[in-house]
């Protein structure tokens, strides 16, 4: 089981490093297969994400355009939100939290699918326009 944990975690780390996020997949692995409690699994997932994304950050900072001022203010707001969110974990039953988490996963996955399909459609449409322009020129 330790080897499987390592392999699966490394795979999730790659996804986090790519910037698509781990999507809480580690939480599912830990709760369903390793029998870890929901809040513990969430905590492990958070620390895991910090380590994985911090490792990949240098690649992103080198090659991407970062809106430093915007991100700074967003981070402050995000941390403030975190204090509220973590406060509510004391009052919500772990089983209820688990269901909310599952709904969040479905929502996040559907959003990613729709955006992916929409981007593909836009790209195909642009390719068609370019081809038509080339034919006209010729």
């Amino acid at each position: 089981m330790a080897i499987l944990d390592f392999i699966f975690s490394a795979f999730i780390g790659i996804l986090a490093g790519l910037g698509v996020g781990s999507g809480g997949l580690l939480v599912i692995w830990l709760t369903v297969l390793d029998g870890v409690g929901q809040l513990s699994a969430q905590g492990i997932n958070l620390i895991f994400f910090v380590l994985a994304s911090a490792s990949s950050l240098i690649f992103h900072l080198k090659s991407r355009k970062i809106l430093y001022k915007t991100v700074f203010f967003m981070a402050i707001a995000g941390v403030a939100g975190t204090l509220i969110g973590t406060h509510f974990t004391k009052f919500i039953h772990p089983d209820v939290l688990r269901k909310i988490f599952a709904l969040m996963l479905i929502f996040a996955g559907c959003v990613a699918l729709i955006r992916g399909l929409s981007a593909k459609k836009t790209s195909q449409s642009n390719n068609k326009k370019n081809n038509e322009n080339n034919i006209e020129k010729n």
């Binding site: 620390i47 950050l57 355009k65 941390v79 975190t82 988490f101």
Partner: protein, 125 residues
Amino acid sequence: MKKTDRHLFPLIIAAFACGIVTGLLGAGGGVIVTLTFAHYANQLFDDKRDIFANTLCVVLPVSVAASVRYMTLGYVGLKEMLPFALPAVIGGLLGGFLLKKFRAGFVNTVFALITVWSGVYMLMK
């Protein structure tokens, strides 16, 4: 007024919501930030891959704050985290390195399908 200043307020609201979700569920807050950046992408970025990088820069400190809170609340300790630390770092480095090599669309689709399936499975369990 700069383009980024105009969009600052909705982006800050999105980040605040991201913090609440991340604090409550330990994951998923990044989706809100990504969606909001994507909404303003044409005004803010030349390359849409910048969305992921900027999201990471927001979600990382949020996750650090949430991790610290979870540890102080006693939900998780460093001992439980240790087996996952090395694969996290290795995977993260690999992912950052592979960013240029993979088509973002392919990765996004695979991830989306896994996430939806996982959510349904967890809901039914």
